[in-house]
């Protein structure tokens, strides 16, 4: 699993408790369990390379293209692309 937020990664990997983390709903700490059990591994990925980034906000066209490629929407293999956008 790729994440683009360092503080969040730290929260997941370490049982940190600060003044602000106590406000996080207990239900979400389930992610720590999964992580320690080894069901899922988290890695950092820059926002700019993040495919999910394009799902959170409307991107301008050059970034949108990168996003589209990253999530696996490509020109089909027959080369059947319309205009090159």
């Amino acid at each position: 699993m790729r994440e683009d937020n360092h503080s969040c990664l730290k929260l997941i990997t370490n049982p940190e408790a600060t003044g602000r983390t106590k406000l996080v709903d207990v239900a979400y700490h389930v992610v720590r369990d999964y992580q320690t059990r080894g069901d899922v591994a988290f890695y950092f990925l820059l926002s700019s390379e993040m495919p999910a980034d394009g799902l959170t906000k409307p991107l301008p066209s050059p970034f949108f293209k990168t996003f589209r490629d990253a999530i696996g929407v490509g020109p089909d293999l027959g080369g059947a692309v319309m205009a090159q956008w």
């Binding site: 999910a52 949108f64 020109p75």
Partner: protein, 562 residues
């Protein structure tokens, strides 16, 4: 469900001679995607219409990659032409009654609003295609046509066949006001793989919308898999070079017992005993609301008998372990079955077991599954799924088939909000427009999912700005009709999670966005507004990570079956 068009029979599927793509226009049958239109599900309603031939003006911009496209287009036209030359003299063509076109699957996509009535537009625009090569819409229309005797024969044949099966038995009306479900005939012209006319078909269908819950039916659940499951099976098959075959269960005759006291009234003109008699349905006639469910139940019973089991991850997937042929997976989507496995013999074994219990049409290697066109390159181990037909139909239904294409589905930097003033009047087509995009975004077009996720939030308080934003999506699709998802590598499951902190400017709640890829292509996307308000980006992301992990674990389990 749909008859294969002209080229289906001629294109060698998965031939070993070099990278071969199976190019057919059959994905233009969007019918299957809309079970709601099942009433008119007369095997091959895709034939009713053709994608706008000029859907690609901007096509040939000198790009060499467009060559394949052009062929594609020509083939499409050839198909149309062949339809027009079928067995009628020009004189007959002139006599064609300009009756209304039968409402098409995508016609149902857009409710006709008071002012913008895309459905209406579509019908008017379709006048040019009218002719005797098209099936009659209504019985009255068929009766007015010079080819009525042929239709009449079709009606007789269907009634005879149903009688032989014992689909209904005649009974006396219990009282004068006894409620019955009306029936009607749906007409279709059948063609063989070469496009030659083979027969005029009529099929009796009960009008399911007249059925009363409790009296005529109870449950209507039909097996339809999760979009992620559908994608995953293709993704895994692409990477492991599995055989994927498609079996289409014919819906015409069902031998499932209906188990309800349901009474039908046959259409006028069907010779059927006394006028005071009505039909009691014994078998679930196709078109009744419970038909698909009953078939699904029968399928399950059969699969259990066969020894296939259902992993708990998705109720529509069956796994069958064969001592010799290894594992074979069966994906059930209403009438359509995908049978996938490493060894061809195993796949064949499953298929023969299914065809033993049902009347099926075996399409061999999958080309078109629920309107999704599957293009495969066995050598390169890649599969591309695209839904060009549905996209084109959608644009047409929205009246945007000649709109100026745009590069992105939503303009960047625009943050839509609810101003709650200058609201647009009720009865606009916004809801229909947004809704129609959903099914496109789930499997083949995840690139529009941001729009699909965000736009419905404004349905209740629609403003000009929202409508303008919603227009962007069809415009984007217009420029990218032929794109689809591609599974091109053997990469394992990857997840990507992100959250937009306080993306919802009113509730200040964040939205989780999660996407996962298998074999380099998307299999599952999730977008959900978080239930709690996050006070920092880290908190929002933490919430998102928790949700995404749960989603990813389900996916992992699903893929673990494979």
């Amino acid at each position: 469900m749909a008859e294969m068009p002209t080229k289906a029979g001629t294109s060698p599927v998965g031939s070993s001679a070099g990278p071969q793509l199976t190019m057919t226009e059959d994905s233009d049958n969007k019918g299957d995607m809309y079970e709601a239109m099942d009433m008119l599900d007369a095997e091959g309603d895709g034939r009713e219409r053709h994608p706008p031939e000029a859907d690609s003006d901007s096509d040939s911009d000198g790009d060499p990659r467009d060559i394949a496209d052009d062929n594609d287009e020509e083939e499409g036209q050839g198909h149309t032409a062949s339809l027009h030359t079928v067995g009628h003299s020009p004189a007959e063509m002139d006599n064609a009654a300009p009756g209304p076109r039968r409402s098409t699957p995508h016609g149902s996509l857009v409710r006709q609003g008071p002012q913008g009535s895309p459905g209406q537009q579509f019908r008017v625009g379709g006048q040019g295609w009218l002719g005797l090569d098209k099936a009659a819409g209504k019985r009255e229309e068929a009766r007015a046509r010079p080819d009525w005797p042929l239709w009449q024969q079709g009606v007789k044949d269907d009634v005879m066949a149903q009688m032989q099966l014992g689909t209904w038995s005649n009974t006396k009306m219990r009282n004068k006001n006894q409620q019955t479900v009306k029936t009607r005939f749906v007409f279709d012209i059948k063609h063989d793989a070469e496009g030659n006319l083979t027969r005029y078909k009529a099929r009796l269908v009960p009008q399911g919308f007249n059925q009363v819950p409790g009296r005529d039916f109870d449950e209507t659940w039909a097996p339809v898999p999760n979009a992620a499951t559908t994608s995953a099976i293709f993704a895994v098959a692409a990477a492991n070079d599995w055989e994927i075959h498609h079996v289409d269960i014919k819906t015409a005759f069902l031998d499932a017992k209906i188990g309800k006291d349901m009474y039908n009234k046959l259409p006028d003109g069907v010779e059927d005993g006394d006028p005071g008699e009505i039909c009691q349905l014994n078998l679930a006639l196709h078109g009744t609301k419970q038909a698909k469910r009953l078939r699904g139940m029968k399928l399950e019973k059969d699969r259990k008998k066969m020894g296939a089991f259902r992993p708990p991850v998705d109720p529509c997937v069956y796994e069958w372990n064969h001592p010799v042929h290894g594992r074979v997976f069966i994906l059930v989507c209403a009438d359509n079955l995908i049978v996938a496995g490493k060894i061809l013999a195993g796949v064949q074994a499953v298929k023969s077991a299914v065809s033993g219990a049902f009347d099926v049409r075996d399409v061999a290697e999958v080309i078109d599954f629920i309107g999704i066109k599957v293009m495969r390159d066995r050598k390169a181990c890649t599969i591309t799924l695209r839904n060009r037909g549905l996209t084109a139909a959608l644009l047409e239904a929205l009246g945007m088939e000649i709109a100026t294409p745009s590069k992105t589905p939503l303009a960047s930097g625009v943050k839509l909000s609810k101003m709650r003033k200058d609201l647009l009047p009720e009865g606009n087509c916004y809801a229909a427009q947004v809704r129609s995009l959903i099914c496109l975004s789930t499997v083949t077009r995840p690139d529009i999912s941001i729009a699909v996720g965000g736009l419905p939030r404004f349905m209740s308080c629609l403003e000009e700005a929202h409508l303008r934003a919603a227009k962007g999506v069809p415009r984007y699709l217009r420029g990218t009709t032929r794109r689809g998802v591609a599974y091109v590598s053997s990469e394992p499951l990857q997840g990507y999670v992100d959250a937009d902190w306080e993306g919802d400017v009113h509730g200040r709640r964040s939205t989780t966005r999660f996407t996962s890829t298998v074999s380099g292509g998307p299999v599952a996307l999730a977008s959900k507004r978080q239930s709690a308000v996050a006070t920092s980006t880290a908190e929002a992301e933490y919430e998102a990570a928790a949700m995404a992990t749960k989603e990813a674990l389900w996916l992992h389990e699903l893929l673990g079956c494979a």
